[in-house]
């Protein structure tokens, strides 16, 4: 290493030490949270506490070491924040496990299988994929080569639940695939693949899409021929809504596509056109599809349906109200009163037991994660990286907004998982892949330029090849 590069490296530290310290804090919070759940519910110290917290700590440490080696200059906040969210999810899932077990005991019903160990296993699998992404994808720009493959694969995954035999309908929505004893939600993987596709596609096509052919109300509008991609995205989203009855995923894809289109073309007209398409789609869905219609009706007046279709949202609101400002305290609420407490409604459980304070902390954690992602998008120098980082961050943001807004009755309720928190493997793995991709891009964005001429630095060999 030359003297110059060492000086520069010193001026722009990798901040890996800060990352490790924050990971330690996240882990410690998890230990304390688990202990509090155990003590407050009267279960005592969880029997396998040191095994589980040991596994979580080891997984976090593995990720940190891999980042230190493979993405040394990556943003130091992304990993600890995502880890803290995952740990918080594990604590809440354990909390709800305890509640379910205690309820079963009271009703002399058979003990349910705890979910927390399954979730921990999924976390381990997520870490494997996280490591794989960082090791295999040495430069995110290489992903651009597979743009159309990703697009095709993404679409395929999206329609997979409709396939006979393997497709499964759960709670009215057809978004599961079951192969053997193993089931997953392909939409979670599809959201990453389609973001990759959108980024690659829009980088290439953005010039023609940005061409202004007509002006209306002071805004430039694209020519009709270029509306094609927008129209296809719209039809696919509607298709997901109609055939898979998955309102959340449908919303997520369309919103993601519109915002990425806007970023790529820098034309506000796309946002307006997109909004019009959205409005038409929403109106059609409201008119013709009962499940959408019901969601809106219940949203407007959940109290009238408190015992039927509004039961979930009403229970969720009661949970939040019970939490108040400081929360009932971990282990002292009634989180399993809300159906699907550890998946769609895990935020309601957090709102009840950790209160408004906890909710603010939680949403700010997401805000930090998303802000870091957007900052990566702004600072990386290649357009593909910019679009990809922005797209991935927006996916997270939209998903958080749609589900948290849904369970708090800000918007109609749509089934989506809460990133990192919800019980469910597909979602956890997918979101960790997103973190890995963001780390990969941010490593590129924050890497000192000078290293490009350090021939002996293994990290820079990748750069040189491009």
């Amino acid at each position: 290493m030359s003297v110059g590069s060492q000086q520069l490296a010193r001026r722009q530290p990798s901040r890996r030490g800060a990352e490790l310290m924050l990971l330690g804090c996240a882990w410690a919070l998890g230990v304390l949270g688990t202990l509090q759940v155990g003590w407050a519910t009267g279960e005592g110290t969880p029997s396998r506490l040191w095994v589980t917290v040991g596994v979580v700590g080891a997984l976090a440490l593995v990720m940190h070491i891999v980042v230190r080696i493979k993405a040394r200059y990556a943003d130091p906040l992304l990993l600890p924040v995502a880890t803290l969210l995952t740990i918080l999810g594990l604590v809440m899932i354990y909390r709800i496990d305890v509640a379910s077990a205690q309820r079963a005991e009271r009703n002399s019903a058979p003990q349910p299988t705890p979910d927390v160990y399954a979730q921990l296993t999924w976390f381990a699998i997520a870490v494997v994929l996280f490591v794989a992404v960082l090791v295999l994808v040495k430069d995110h720009r290489r992903l651009q080569r597979y743009t159309y493959s990703f697009g095709l694969l993404g679409l395929l995954l999206l329609v997979l639940p409709l396939a006979p035999i393997i497709g499964t309908t759960v709670n009215g929505a057809t978004l599961w695939v079951r192969i053997g004893g193993f089931s997953f939600q392909p939409a979670e993987a599809a959201k990453i693949l389609l973001t990759l596709f959108f980024a690659g596609y829009l980088v290439v096509k953005r010039d023609s899409l940005a061409l202004v052919r007509s002006k209306f109300l002071g805004l430039g509008f694209p020519q009709i021929r270029d509306l094609g991609p927008l129209f296809i995205a719209w039809v696919v989203s509607l298709g997901v809504l109609v055939f898979e009855r998955d309102l959340g995923t449908s919303l997520l894809f369309f919103g993601l596509f519109i915002t990425m289109l806007y970023i790529a073309t820098q034309r506000r007209s796309w946002l307006i056109l997109g909004s019009i398409f959205f409005a038409i789609g929403a109106l059609l869905a409201y008119q013709f599809f009962d499940h959408v219609h019901n969601r809106v009706i219940v949203w407007l007046d959940p109290w009238s349906y408190a015992d039927t279709s509004g039961y979930q949202i009403v229970q969720s609101l009661y949970g939040f109200a019970n939490g108040g400002i400081m929360g009932a305290g971990l282990g002292q609420g009634f989180p399993n009163f809300v159906p699907f407490a550890n998946t769609d409604f895990i935020v309601a459980a957090i709102g009840e037991e950790l209160g408004l304070t906890g909710m603010f902390a939680l949403l700010l954690l997401y805000a930090v994660l998303i802000e870091r992602g957007l900052r990566t998008a702004v600072s990386v120098r290649d357009s593909f990286g910019q679009l990809l980082a922005a797209g991935l961050s927006i996916t997270l943001a939209l998903q958080v907004f749609v589900i948290v807004g849904g369970v708090t009755r800000l918007i109609p309720l749509t089934g989506l998982t809460t990133p990192f928190l919800s019980y469910g493997g597909s979602s956890l793995v997918a979101n960790w892949v997103i973190v890995a991709l963001l780390l990969r891009i941010s490593d590129r964005a924050r890497r000192p330029e000078i290293h490009q001429i350090d021939a002996d630095d293994a990290l820079t060999q990748v750069v040189r090849r491009v």
């Binding site: 408190a306 939040f320 109200a321 108040g324 282990g331 907004f401 708090t408």
Partner: protein, 481 residues
């Protein structure tokens, strides 16, 4: 480049975050109360039913306790003798709130009282639910049961007090209600029962012993007699005019004796004899001689015009202000606007029996922690020196004479000297007259003072001796046994 668009999207996302934060704040802060109290919300119910509420004890036995149910609502509030102790325990309903000791001692029963500071500290660290403490009442189960039995089928109340301390030994009402039915786990049944109680003209939800105000009638003659002795102008043997009817001063109205006869030969009667036969004309005359000021002062020394918290809130018994002479005459015999609770009249009896010292009445003897360690004991408090010991002794003898030779014969207990006074009071409205009996026993160093009030009984002959004295006797016997 695209940075500007990304930043703009960032701003939009920030606004969405603000929308989420504002919305959650509204739910968890502004609307939280409303949501918590919505009828369909079981959380409050469950939160309450989830923790073991401390018992309310009568002696060593719980009048109210939490029983583990084994279902989702983990604990059920149970009252083993619900209607018997209802005026003391009150009820604990998650729809209609709490009354009685369930309300006033809530912080102890839920374990949230500052008395449990040390326990709370350890609970805080462990994140455990506080466990409720126990409240021990001053109630004597035997006296309570005797009074309850005596009141059966009547509308009325009984209060018994230990004269030396002010401990309330019995507080009974009829009709009563069953608090079990208000704490059940079926909201619909609770509502139905509550509405039924509310529409009952006999008002079973009224805490009759300490809240129901009635004219005390002739039992108030005890206060008038005490004022007469206090004036120094009268002794039990003083001769008073006791004609068959008394023309109220400054008016044309006549006040009659209950039997429309003269109280003694030549319309003259001693103070002692006037009390024994409850001579209205003599006491009306006496009241006018003493003046309303003296009567009020004596009444207030015995607890009138003061709202006691025992800790249940008792109604304030009244001796009216600014009386002219005819009003004073009527007030001296417990009519006009004089109003008293059963608690108040029991206090009058107790003060006379306690050498003239009025004690503050109380219902809570001890507060115990979840581990049953005594955390707080109530000490008796002197309220006022209402009479000199000598006057008190003289009045006691006069009251013994009432029971042994006068109108209160039904209160006699063999082998025990009982002091008592009957009363029958006209109420303003169409309701039947109210029958009273105030007594204490044994006359020297009494263990119990009792007041019985019967508002309605269905009996055609209404008299304190006939309706109220037997109940008072049974209550006193129960305590003395």
């Amino acid at each position: 480049m695209m940075s500007r668009q990304i930043r703009r999207i960032g701003v939009v996302l920030a606004l969405m975050l603000v929308a989420l934060l504002v919305n959650i704040t509204v739910i968890q802060v502004v609307l939280a109360r409303d949501y918590r109290e919505r009828p369909g919300n079981q959380r409050l119910l469950l939160a309450e039913y989830d923790r073991e509420r401390g018992p309310i004890l009568v002696g060593a036995n719980p009048a109210a306790r939490s029983v583990e149910t084994g279902n989702t609502l983990r604990y059920l509030r149970t009252y083993d003798d619900g209607p018997l102790y209802a005026p003391i325990t009150g009820f604990y309903s998650l729809i209609y709130g709490a009354t009685g000791l369930e309300r006033t001692e809530n912080r102890v029963l839920t374990g949230k009282s500052d008395l449990f500071f040390v326990d709370r500290l350890s609970q805080l660290f462990a994140g455990r639910q506080p466990v409720g403490g126990a409240v021990t009442t001053t109630i004597d189960a035997a006296a309570q049961e005797a009074a309850f039995k005596g009141l059966k089928g009547k509308v009325g109340a009984v209060v018994a007090i230990e004269p030396a301390t002010g401990r309330i030994l019995a507080s009974v009402q009829s009709p009563s209600f069953d608090p079990n039915l208000l704490t059940s786990q079926d909201p619909e049944a609770i509502r139905t029962y509550y509405e039924e109680l509310k529409s009952d003209p006999a008002k079973p939800l009224l805490n009759r012993p300490i809240v129901a105000l009635n004219p005390p009638g002739s039992t108030f003659k005890l206060v008038t007699a005490a004022a007469a002795l206090a004036s120094g102008l009268y002794t039990p043997d003083s001769i008073l005019p006791g004609p068959a009817s008394y023309r109220l001063p400054l008016s044309t109205s006549e006040l009659n004796n209950w039997n429309r006869k003269e109280c003694g030969p030549d319309g003259k009667v001693t103070l002692k004899q006037a009390l024994a036969i409850s001579c209205n004309t003599a006491f009306a005359w006496l009241g006018v001689q003493l003046g309303d000021e003296a009567l009020r002062k004596q009444a207030e020394l015995m607890g009138f015009d003061k709202g006691f918290q025992i800790p249940l809130k008792a109604a304030t018994s009244r001796f009216p202000a600014e009386l002219d002479e005819p009003q004073t005459a009527l007030s001296a015999i417990g009519q006009f606007e004089v109003r008293a609770t059963a608690l108040q009249m029991a206090m009058v009896g107790a003060a006379i029996g306690n050498n003239g010292v009025t004690m503050q009445p109380y219902l809570v003897q001890e507060v115990r922690g979840p581990d049953l360690a005594i955390l707080q004991t109530t000490d008796p408090i002197r309220y006022a020196d209402a009479m000199t010991p000598l006057n008190a002794a003289q009045l006691t003898e006069m009251m013994v004479n009432v029971v042994e030779n006068g109108t209160g014969s039904n209160a006699q207990i063999s082998g025990v000297r009982v002091a008592g006074k009957t009363g029958t009071a006209e109420t303003d409205n169409e309701r039947p007259a109210v029958a009273w009996f105030v007594a204490f026993a044994p006359a020297q160093s009494p263990k119990v003072a009792v007041a019985v009030v019967i508002e309605e009984s269905g009996a055609t002959e209404i008299s304190g001796n006939g309706l109220a004295a037997p109940i008072a006797r049974e209550v006193m016997k129960a305590v003395l046994r």
